[in-house]
């Protein structure tokens, strides 16, 4: 059995319910968020936008605003000091407004009140242009071209031979076997279409930064709500014109990010840097909720077209699909995200013939970007609904169809990657079926539905997997620094960032384990780009599984140094030394679990000795994984070093009179590889379920010609505590040689299957194919027509 057990004695600190080391200041309210920062002489920075798009700005009249006392600086897109394009596609400022977030001028003022007044006093003249807002319209032959770099379709596929609105860098084909032959041998073939909307990460803290010149060394310094401090530094350096070494980014406590505080905080800090350069004064910028919704990236909407075929026994032989996402007007994410979509486009199933094409399309909307799951919540929804439809067509049980096709050890994925590791997916399915009483409930609900006119009940199981870390999307390298001090306390730092996911605690556990010290001895120094090397982004649920590898290496090397010291002291060899609870001791072979009182020494005493003896007490390590052999033209090869497997069962009650969906229970099972901190995993899973519930039932960015209609949380509907269902979580462990201490990803897998499971349960309740999200009041009523 691979169920996680609490009293596993394999580790000293790993796998234990260690209290979060950053919890206290958050609970007490003393944690400093970027918006909490103030400085003498500080100015408030803000943005001027127009309300219709796309448009060509012809004139900006700043005279009224300039006359307001307290307005210090106004830089329009026509100003020679204006920096327009950023390195990452998005604009700091522009006279060619392509979407609602584009900024035409920036202002610095003595107070927030004056700033707001000044923004309103700017008169912008512009010529409105013809816009394109949907994927369908953007792909039409006569559609206006939104971006110079856009390409067109030739024979239904993106091609550089023609102009159009396709973002060619985001095109990823997968070609495995021969689908034409595959479909010939199928007894049943179905085709289905699915689509999903833009949704927002909806973090509590909106984007904020403070940019100033560090009087100590002249570095331009940004303190920011950045998910990826090194990426944000890139914008800071570019906009200020400073070198990277003279641009410093300090990450402040984050009030949520989920992939959202990447490009948005980048362009924000760039604008602040431009104002800082012009005024020489500290600039603070804080987005309002409305600005945050306009300017920050969203989860990509997708249009899915799927065709799947199987034998009458239920063996899937072929799958063909087109996955097209709406990129918005600018984009620096779809080209990475779509690779992940393509790898997972055939689900967690072994299918001999797969042909899928995934690409993004430019429109005059807000851009799609990263949001917890990075395309998986969308793809799994479509893919799993497709499997339910196939089961229906075959007259087969949904779960049995999955059982016949799931990836097991020695299976080959859609990218033809041979899975050599242990796969516990079937065991997980059985455990969850059993725990949730799935089959009894399924029968009970179907019986109930026969007699009930107003209420319908449903239950559904979803299976999926997720490549852990960046895989062949990038290089999963990272660095960490571990320094012990003379009193036995230890400072750890890493290029990866705490974004609320519990990274500090997990990394502290990973450092404490080899060092044999207790967690209270560790201080986690959060990211300051002047203090640690760029370790890439904290994304893709890579923090613990891949990003902590260097931390483990560094802690192990320091532990070895200490052990050598102790071995010398007791005239023995390193292999005889072990450590635990802040002591290093000589292992007594007769009593391996105990340590003798005579032959032990406190970690702090060794540290003290070494410090005054001029011996090394700090270690910096770098980790670079083996490169994956992957062909991006065929979509074939080793995509990821390891995969997290996931099973989710949702139960719903639908009031068909009014169209409301009540999610009554979610049972979620996750293959964590090794559980580092069970409480943190559960926290991720609870939050992931609620986030998935919002995606399934209520959340949708409503757009009218690119304008966001629901730009605050009164109309953008997130679930509240009243909407949260009963949740049953099951943690599994499996054997993998990849991942820090064998840990797999948790953050994104926790949410990615939930929307699909709820949609599946609604489909079961209504006996309809739910083909889009969210399952809003209106859409449920339409299914019943």
């Amino acid at each position: 059995m691979s169920l996680f057990e609490h009293n596993n004695n394999k580790y000293k600190v790993i796998g234990k319910d260690i209290k979060r080391i950053d919890a206290l200041e958050k609970v007490k309210g003393t944690a400093l968020y970027a918006a909490d920062l103030y400085m003498d002489g500080m100015l408030y920075g803000g943005n001027v936008r127009i309300k219709e798009y796309p448009a060509k700005v012809t004139k900006i009249d700043t005279s009224l605003a300039k006359a307001i006392p307290g307005v210090v600086e106004i830089i329009t897109c026509f100003d020679s000091r204006a920096k327009k394009h950023s390195w990452a596609d998005y604009c700091y400022m522009t006279d060619e407004v392509k979407f609602c977030g584009d900024v035409v001028a920036i202002i610095a003022a003595e107070s927030k009140k004056v700033l707001d007044q000044a923004i309103k006093s700017i008169k912008v003249e512009y010529e409105l242009q013809k816009g394109v807002y949907t994927v369908e319209d953007a792909l039409k032959e006569d559609a206006p071209i939104i971006r110079e770099k856009g390409v067109g379709l030739v024979d239904g596929l993106p091609s550089r031979e023609k102009k159009g609105n396709i973002f060619i860098d985001s095109y990823y084909p997968v070609r495995k076997g021969d689908v034409v032959e595959g479909f010939k041998n199928c007894d049943v073939i179905i085709e289905r279409e699915y689509n999903v909307p833009f949704i927002d990460q909806a973090y509590i803290e909106t984007e904020a930064c403070l940019v100033y010149c560090d009087p100590k060394d002249g570095s331009i310094t940004g303190e920011s709500s950045a998910q990826n401090p090194f990426f944000t530094r890139r914008y800071l350096a570019e906009a200020s014109g400073n070198t990277m070494s003279e641009s410093r980014l300090i990450q402040r406590t984050l009030g949520g990010s989920f992939g959202g505080k990447e490009e948005g905080v980048g362009v924000q800090i760039g604008r602040a840097a431009i104002l800082h350069k012009a005024t020489g004064r500290p600039i603070k910028m804080v987005n309002s909720r409305e600005e945050s919704l306009m300017d920050s990236s969203k989860r990509h909407p997708f249009n899915f077209k799927y065709k799947i075929g199987a034998t009458k026994e239920g063996k899937v032989l072929a799958l063909e699909a087109t996955l097209i996402d709406n990129c918005g007007a600018y984009n620096n994410q779809t080209q990475f995200m779509n690779w992940r979509s393509s790898v997972h486009s055939a689900g967690v199933y072994e299918i001999p013939n797969v042909k899928t094409d995934t690409f993004g399309v430019f429109t005059n909307n807000v851009h799609g970007g990263a949001m917890r799951g990075y395309s998986s919540p969308q793809v799994i929804f479509a893919q799993e609904q497709l499997m339910n439809e196939l089961a229906k067509e075959l007259g087969m049980d949904n779960v049995e169809l999955r059982r016949k096709n799931i990836i097991r050890q020695n299976s080959r994925t859609a990218t033809n990657q041979l899975i050599t590791e242990e796969v516990i997916l079937e065991e997980m399915m059985d455990e969850l079926l059993n725990r949730s009483n799935y089959y009894n409930k399924k029968n009970e609900y179907e019986e109930f539905n026969k007699n009930s006119k107003s209420f319908k009940k449903g239950i559904s199981l979803v299976t999926c997997f997720r490549g852990a870390g960046l895989g062949a999307e990038g290089i999963d390298a990272n660095g960490a620094f571990v320094q012990a001090t003379e009193d036995g306390s230890v400072i750890i730092s890493t290029g990866l960032a705490e974004n609320g996911q519990g990274l500090q605690t997990a990394f502290a556990q990973i450092a404490a384990e080899p060092l044999g010290i207790t967690i209270d001895k560790i201080h986690f120094h959060s990211v300051d780009t002047h203090a640690i090397a760029d370790s890439g982004m904290t994304v893709a649920s890579r923090g613990t599984t891949m990003g902590a590898q260097s931390m483990k290496k560094a802690a192990e090397r320091l532990a070895l140094i200490i052990k050598e010291h102790v071995a010398k002291k007791f005239c023995t060899t390193v292999d005889k030394i072990d450590c635990k609870d802040n002591y290093y001791y000589v292992v007594d072979e007769n009593f391996p679990s105990n340590y003798s009182n005579e032959k032990k020494v406190a970690f702090k005493d060794i540290c003290n000795e070494r410090m005054w003896g001029g011996e090394q007490l700090a270690v910096y390590e770098w980790f670079k994984p083996e490169l994956n052999d992957y062909n991006h033209h065929t979509g074939q090869g080793k995509a990821f070093p390891t995969y997290t497997y996931n099973v989710c069962i949702a139960e719903v009650e639908v009031d068909i009179n009014i169209g409301s969906v009540n999610v009554t229970k979610v049972t979620s099972g996750l293959d964590c590889g090794t559980v580092i901190n069970p409480n943190t995993v559960r926290g991720q899973m609870f939050g992931g379920i609620v986030m998935g519930l919002g995606y399934a039932i209520t959340e949708e960015i409503e757009l009218n010609k690119g304008r966001i209609l629901n730009d605050n949380f009164d109309s953008y509907i997130l679930p509240t505590s009243m909407d949260i269902p009963e949740m049953d979580l099951v943690l599994f462990e499996s054997i993998t040689k990849e991942g820090t201490f064998g840990a797999k990803s948790v953050g994104e897998p926790s949410t990615e299957a939930v929307g699909a499971a709820i949609a599946g349960a609604v489909s079961h309740a209504l006996n309809k194919n739910v083909d889009h999200l969210p399952c809003s009041l209106e859409s449920i009523l339409k299914y019943m027509d």
Binding site: N657, I697, D714, I717, L718, M722, L777, E778
Partner: protein, 280 residues
């Protein structure tokens, strides 16, 4: 310059009333409007939160008077309202969140004249009348249906303020309130319904009241249908007919809008099921 007054009595309050007055009671609407750019700098703000006599519920026989600054939460907790107008207790319990129910007032929710007000259907169910007082201390009463002209507009004059809402006890009636929102709390009503029924010994209808909110610019009570039902038994056919008739009436008034696609069939479904539940 903004003028701000915080009177302690109604009489003192009347002194401050002037043409540019703005009242603040719970602030659950005003503060949102201010955030959205409503500039109060040329207004006189009269803060009603410190006038004890403007809050509370009085009952005299079959008449209940809810003072304007009674919060939703205090309505929910009030015994007289629980006994005599349970539909209003439910309605006030469905408003926003605990924070909003602790701040928002019944007078404010009437004065704002939102078509999606949750208490409104229950107040109209009980023949609600608004009591207004002017600067001179003169009072007048007006039925809620007349007081509310259209969304955000009432007959309140510049020199007036809302004193209270008077409702009739429906103690003998079977009552219900039902709200449709996009989530279970902090939801603006997509539609809301209030009904009350009183039967004769022979199971025929002695009196019935049907109100629907958020369907039309002003919450609507269906007097003609109510009248038609008196003396009849609520058979399945009749329920079917009534729910159809009500949804058609709403469609006729509202016209074919985008939201009608959802609202019209749902009105029919909900009226149908509420009437059936009341019949049980």
């Amino acid at each position: 310059m903004l003028n701000y007054f915080r009177p302690k009595t109604i009489n003192e309050c009347l002194d401050y009333i002037c043409d540019d007055r703005v009242y603040i009671a719970g602030g659950t609407d005003l503060l949102v409007e201010m955030k959205n750019g409503h500039d109060l700098s040329k207004n006189t703000v009269i803060d009603l939160t410190h006038i004890p006599e403007l809050s509370g519920v009085k009952r005299e026989n079959d008449e209940i008077e809810i003072m304007a600054c009674t919060t939703h939460d205090n309505v929910v907790l009030n015994k007289d309202i629980n006994q005599c107008l349970r539909a209003l207790s439910s309605a006030c319990r469905s408003v926003g969140s605990p924070q909003i129910r602790n701040m928002g007032t019944i007078g404010g929710s009437v004065g704002t004249a939102s078509p999606a007000s949750d208490p409104m259907p229950a107040l109209m169910l009980a023949d609600g009348r608004v009591v207004l007082i002017n600067k001179k201390g003169e009072t007048r009463e007006e039925g809620l249906e007349d007081f509310i002209v259209k969304p955000g507009v009432t007959t309140l004059k510049n020199d007036e303020m809302i004193l209270s809402i008077k409702v009739k006890s429906l103690k003998e009636y079977k009552q219900s309130f039902f709200k449709i929102g996009r989530r279970k709390a902090l939801a603006i009503a997509r539609l809301n319904f209030a009904m009350a029924i009183l039967k004769n010994d022979d199971e025929t209808i002695k009196d019935i009241k049907i109100v629907i909110g958020a369907a039309l610019p002003v919450t609507k009570r269906f007097y003609d249908i109510e009248k038609m039902l008196v003396g009849k038994k609520l058979t399945e056919d009749l329920i079917e007919q009534v729910s159809k008739e009500i949804s058609e009436q709403v469609l006729a008034i509202a016209g074919p809008r985008k939201s009608s696609e959802y609202k019209i069939p749902v009105i029919k479904n909900v009226v149908n099921s509420m009437l059936k539940e009341m019949e049980v």
